[in-house]
Amino acid sequence: MKQTPLHDVHVALGARMVEFGGWHMPLQYGSILEEGKIVRTACGLFDLSHMGRFQVQGRDAVALVDRVCTNHCAKIPTGSIRYSLLCNEEGRPLDDLLIYRDAVGVYLVVNASNSERDLAWIRGHIGGLAAEVRDETSDTAMLALQGPRSQEILAKITRAVDLAAIRYYAFGFGTVAGLKQTRISRTGYTGEDGFELYLPKAEGARVWQELLAAGTPAGLKPIGLGARDVLRLEAGMALYGHELSAEGNPREAGIEFALALTPAKGDFIGRAGLERLGAARGARLVGITTEGPRVPRQGQELFQGGAKVGVVASGGVSPTLGTNIGSAFVKLGLDKEGVELELDVRGKRQSARVRELPFYSRTRKK
């Protein structure tokens, strides 16, 4: 199993360590529910060094990204970020990723478990383009601050950049803990305001400690991948292998904003497939809440009377709502807020109710 530059720090903090995407990662430092609440009310610090980080360079860097990605890289303003899929020829997702449009090229952040396959896939499609893809994952560390107090905490160790001027889904470069030209993006996977930082590998642990020291008075705590998963579920964000997979129909998964099926985008790998899958939609990704004690789990089926009408993609206990929540693909027509269904938990039926995603939105909270 691979280890991030922060591995020993997690172990020293007493984290429960698990295998995730080929990496030995912290699932939790304490209670997952408590960790979720900390992110919603104060701020959490995450080690995301396992995620794949690729620099795409060369005259045709943008053209290469536009050839393999579903979003329209050429249209992204410099300094902005877009969510995208990487699809096979059939339009089935190989991964989901973030595209950072630089002055010098394009930076991609992909899922740890798909990183090697993504790299081979993208390199395999360079064809005649003047572009190269450099895998920076093992040379760098990646940390995230997530929560309403993120900006205030990051500002304490940051110079030469105005964090307030970095909008959601945009990035800039500044001096973080003395490290000049550090990539700082206003992104995250929790539904909260927050930042992701890209650092030299050797500096990861030092910046982690400096952030903790600066943020502890404001309630900053290290947070594991367990809380991250349920926070992203509350925020209605897809997780590869759950809401998105090479077997599923991405046009049912509520990620249309990642698809640039416009004339301007032109052809790309999977375009025709995505158009066919759009016409073949039979279900839609929605939220579900359950009444009973059991948490919905991936693969469990949803019924209306005797008819199977849906399947669960993800489930968890919501720290914000205090109830069991899940995401599920539910047959069109029944994908409406409030529709009552039954969740089959190993032969036992438990009532479930359809909800619109997301369960939580920071811009919508009262």
């Binding site: 950049v161 105005d162 964090l163 307030a164 001027a165």
Partner: protein, 254 residues
């Protein structure tokens, strides 16, 4: 970047309304513009004004906390138009309201900026100030993160001496448009590094500049002006709504 020589606008039959309201109270200034936007589809109007006391106006979508460091002891209002904050001190402010089908405003919003900024550039040229659209060049007036309109620029902004000198914003509502413009005469401590006309034309006063803009407006658009006062209805609206524009409810809405 070159400026359009003329906007190619046909002569309007009806005279424009010309309003001059000097030393307006900040909330009242904004409320009167709201009244002008509401009646804009009947006759086009060009209004020139100044502020007493001086005030800081926030753009409609700005977060007031981000302007808190700049706010200080200033009177605060929020505009219903977009963009960044402006310190209305030593400046000539104008508002133009008309239907969105009017020759000045029809088509893309960016075209209307080109028309208005092109017109102003000709006025400034008469004064010996060579202003041009910023285009892709970087400006010396850029300041990261102050939230101030003049510290941030786009390719369509008007600049001279490498600095931004005119702030512009619009509101489009129900087929009508109101364009806000702010032309810097003198410097403000809150707007460090921006271009001012007085740096080149020392004795320039708001009323004299307004007269020059009016003249160029007539030449460019082929229109005439009728000097008027705001109508009784507009004045009533402005009186009733002035407090709203400086209220915490509106200023701190975001």
């Amino acid at each position: 970047m070159s400026l359009p020589e003329d906007a190619g606008v046909p002569a309007a039959r009806e005279p424009w309304r010309l309003l001059l309201t000097w030393d307006g109270e900040p909330g009242w200034n904004m409320a009167l513009d709201e009244a002008l936007l509401q009646s804009a589809d009947r006759r086009a109007v060009l209004r020139f004004y100044t502020w007493k006391p001086h005030a800081l106006s926030l753009g409609y979508f700005q977060r007031w906390r981000e302007l808190a460091p700049q706010a200080g002891a200033n009177v605060l209002v929020r505009r219903f138009s977009g963009g960044g904050a402006i310190h209305h001190s030593d400046e000539l402010t104008f508002s133009v309201a008309a239907a969105d089908t009017h020759a000045l405003f029809h088509g893309e919003v960016s075209r209307s900026y080109e028309r208005i900024h092109g017109l102003l550039a000709r006025v400034f040229a008469e004064l010996g100030v060579r202003a041009a659209l910023r285009g892709e060049q970087a400006l010396l007036s850029e300041r990261a993160g102050t939230g101030m309109c003049f510290h941030h620029s786009t390719p369509l902004d008007l600049a001279w001496d490498g600095k931004k000198g005119v702030g512009s914003a619009q509101r489009r509502r129900g087929g009508r448009v109101l364009h806000h413009g702010s032309i810097k005469l003198g410097a403000s401590a809150l707007e460090e590094g921006v271009a001012t006309l007085r740096a080149r034309v020392p004795a320039l006063e708001p009323a004299a500049l307004a007269e020059r803009v009016r003249g160029e407006w007539e030449r460019t658009l082929g229109c005439t002006f009728a000097r008027e006062e705001p109508s009784a209805l507009e004045l009533e609206h402005a009186r009733a709504r002035a407090a709203f524009y400086r209220s915490d409810e509106f200023v701190r809405r975001r």
